[in-house]
């Protein structure tokens, strides 16, 4: 095989032959080994190992020590400290609830957009796509400062509502959970819309026509055909938005301020302000584990559901 390859390259005339010649042995060596293509994965494998897996493991290790303990003895004290405190448990619960709200709001807002993207023709599709993806094109800090201006007590939203007489005093939007949900929904809507649109696009339009000619109203069509068949998209979108929201830092910090504490802000506080690396690491680990557990349970439930509905989660 190697000899054959070498001969083949020998037939390439002139300069090219001289260029290929030193490599002909290498090419032959690769061709003799069926799994040699795995070598191509090496760069990304190394990158992931050194830039993701290794830091995660170091973080995990750090969480089992106590800051300032010269003996560096292994302990679960950090975890006990977190779980033993009603305040910290409250922050964890707060994070989960906030992420859930963001997911639900993004689903309600994103579904019509996704449906439009999947079913409308060229130009409208492009308009929706650009509108949905636009938050990803602006720096998160700039975008969030924009929301601060919109949401503050003297901002356009409150002044408009006040002048219309719909409210008597400004709504507490900035530095409240509501503001954080608004900011997060805006940021992560694309993660809901794109997988959802892909799922809806896979539904054969003839199914909708069949449903209509069989006498279904628009709502019945949605409930009995489109919704169940778009469940894989809802599943994927919800998982992405939930994971992104529960681990978001900049938006909760800028729009929630002191009043809205979430896990990532807690981690930052411990590490950067109190310089307690170990407790910060423990909180980060808890956040990661909780998110992972939620996703696993969610995945199992979703798989059951899809199986019941005979939906292929592609």
């Amino acid at each position: 095989m190697g000899a054959m390859v070498a001969k083949e390259y020998a037939s390439v005339p002139g300069l090219r032959r001289r260029i290929y010649a030193p490599f002909s042995e290498v090419i032959g060596w690769i061709e003799r080994r069926p799994y040699a293509f795995l070598l191509l994965l090496l760069p990304s494998f190394l990158f992931m190992m050194f830039c993701f897996v290794l830091p995660m493991l170091l973080l995990l290790r750090e969480s089992f020590f106590v800051e300032g303990d010269a003996a560096r003895s292994f302990t679960l004290a950090q975890y006990a400290h977190f779980l033993g405190s009603a305040h910290y448990r409250g922050v964890l619960w707060n994070s989960m609830r906030l992420a859930l709200y963001v997911t639900l709001v993004a689903l309600v807002i994103g579904y019509p957009l996704a449906y439009g993207m999947a079913r409308l023709g060229g130009r409208w599709r492009a308009v929706i796509l650009v509108a949905v993806v636009s938050p990803l094109m602006v720096s998160v800090v700039i975008r969030t400062f924009g929301w601060q201006i919109l949401l503050r007590n003297s901002g356009p939203i409150n002044t408009t509502l006040l002048s219309l007489g719909l409210i008597d005093e400004p709504l507490m939007l900035l530095f409240s959970p509501a503001g954080v949900v608004i900011g997060l929904v805006h940021a992560y809507l694309p993660f809901m819309v794109l997988p959802l649109a892909a799922a809806i696009e896979r539904i054969n339009p003839a199914l909708e026509e069949a449903s209509r000619t069989l006498g279904a109203s628009a709502f019945q069509l949605f409930r009995t055909v489109i919704l169940p068949l778009s469940l894989p998209g809802i599943g994927a979108g919800a998982a992405l938005v939930f994971t992104a929201s529960i681990s978001a830092y900049v938006i909760p910090m800028l729009l929630g301020g002191e009043r809205v504490q979430v896990m990532p802000t807690l981690v930052t506080q411990q590490v950067l302000v109190l310089l307690d690396w170990s407790f910060g690491a423990a909180i980060a680990t808890i956040l990661t584990m909780v998110t992972l557990i939620i996703l696993v349970i969610y995945g199992i439930v979703a798989a059951r559901f899809f199986q019941r509905y005979r939906i292929e989660a592609k």
Binding site: L207, E209, A210, G215, A216, S217, T224
Partner: protein, 379 residues
């Protein structure tokens, strides 16, 4: 036969007024500047199976979707079972529609699929179950009620789609290339099955296909469509034997076409000439004037071959055999005639034509046909 059947199916009411289940008047449909249907009139009597036949893009599917209410006409009127439904949305029209892609709901069992329409109408659960069982029996799929569509073959899926449409006892049944995805043997089986079902139920049916053989097999009448218009609407036999336009002639079956000039017209006989031969036609008065250029067409089964010139005064032309395809009861001959046209002749393999077996490619023969079988079209 057809008229007897029509009467027994109640195509006419007591006053002798024609009852049409589908009535389309002056229907137009355009998408932007593109006209999909033009000034279309069509009536389908009760119990008839009408096929819309034409090449892709001829408007046949557009027409079907207009009847179903999935599209709105740009102008014109749609009547179903005597009622003007032009502005009625699809889900109120009570029509049964069967798709090429079956369009079964993949997340529902066969029974749930078939019962879908009744459930949407809020019919009681036990009534739905009973009707579903009846509908599945109609298409012989009782044993498959609890299966999912993905567990069925193409033919079975299409039978489920039929049951799903028929369970609602629709005023009309619309079939959009329903068997295009099936293999030949299964397609022929399904054609017969659907035809029998349609006859037994007496349901007015419109069948869309681009397959001329399927159209000839299944239809009471065929409407041949081209570029948004109906070229001709007639029984399969009439379409084949007396096509009104060259498009119909070419779309249904084969033919040999000779470009000729009209010499004179006397007593319904049109005399024709081209460089190589002369011919006469009789039968239908085509109204051509002397001197006009025409295409004279003959169906392959209407021509006979002989080794000598049959007579001085005949519709006949000499030619050279370029190919012969033996098919058991018949042989297809391809003959390059001295008139420049390649003639296709389907010759019955009998005692009289036994001499043809001794001929081979390159041998000269005479092609002959009768004046009444010469079809004329403006060139």
């Amino acid at each position: 036969m057809t008229s007897m059947q029509a009467l027994s199916l109640g195509r006419y009411d007591v006053d002798g007024v024609a009852q049409y289940d589908i009535e389309l008047r002056n229907l137009f449909k355009s998408y932007g500047s593109v006209t999909a249907l033009e000034a279309l009139d069509l009536t389908v009597p009760r119990g008839e199976l009408l096929t819309l036949l034409g090449p892709s893009g001829c408007g046949k599917t557009t027409l079907l979707r207009l009847i179903a209410g999935l599209l709105k006409p740009s102008s014109g009127m749609v009547r179903i079972a005597g009622k003007n439904v032009t502005d009625m949305p699809a889900h109120r029209r009570n029509i049964g529609l069967v798709f090429q892609s079956y369009a079964l709901f993949p997340h529902q069992t066969v029974a749930q699929n078939v019962g879908y329409g009744l459930r949407m109408r809020g019919v009681a659960r036990n009534v739905v179950a009973q009707k579903v069982a009846e509908a599945l029996a109609l298409v012989r799929l009782e044993r498959f009620a609890e299966r999912y569509p993905s567990q069925l073959s193409g033919g079975q899926q299409q039978r489920v789609a039929l049951a799903r449409a028929l369970i609602l006892e629709p005023s009309v049944l619309l079939l959009d290339e329903p068997f295009a995805a099936l293999d030949k043997a299964l397609r022929e089986e399904m054609q017969l099955e659907v035809r029998e079902l349609q006859r037994n139920l007496g349901i007015t049916t419109i069948f869309v296909t681009h397959d001329q053989e399927e159209a000839l097999t299944i239809s009471d009448r065929i409407a041949v469509m081209n570029a948004g218009r109906i070229e001709q609407i007639a029984s399969p036999r009439t379409l084949y034997e007396e096509p009104e336009t060259e498009f119909v002639l070419k779309f249904i079956g084969q033919s040999s076409i000779f470009p000729m000039q009209v010499e004179e017209v006397t007593d319904g006989v049109t005399a024709l000439r081209n460089g190589a031969f002369t011919a006469e036609t009789s039968g239908r008065d085509h109204g051509f004037l002397a001197g006009s250029k025409v295409n004279a067409a003959v169906r392959p089964g209407k021509m006979i071959l002989s080794s000598e010139r049959p007579s001085e005064a005949c519709n006949c032309v000499e030619g050279k055999i370029v190919g012969a395809i033996y098919l058991g009861t018949i042989t297809h001959y391809h003959i390059d005639t001295s008139a420049g046209t390649r003639a296709v002749v389907h010759s019955q393999n009998t005692e009289e034509t036994a001499f043809l077996e001794r001929l081979s490619t390159g041998d000269r023969v005479w092609v002959q046909w009768s004046p009444k079988n010469t079809l004329l079209f403006p060139a």
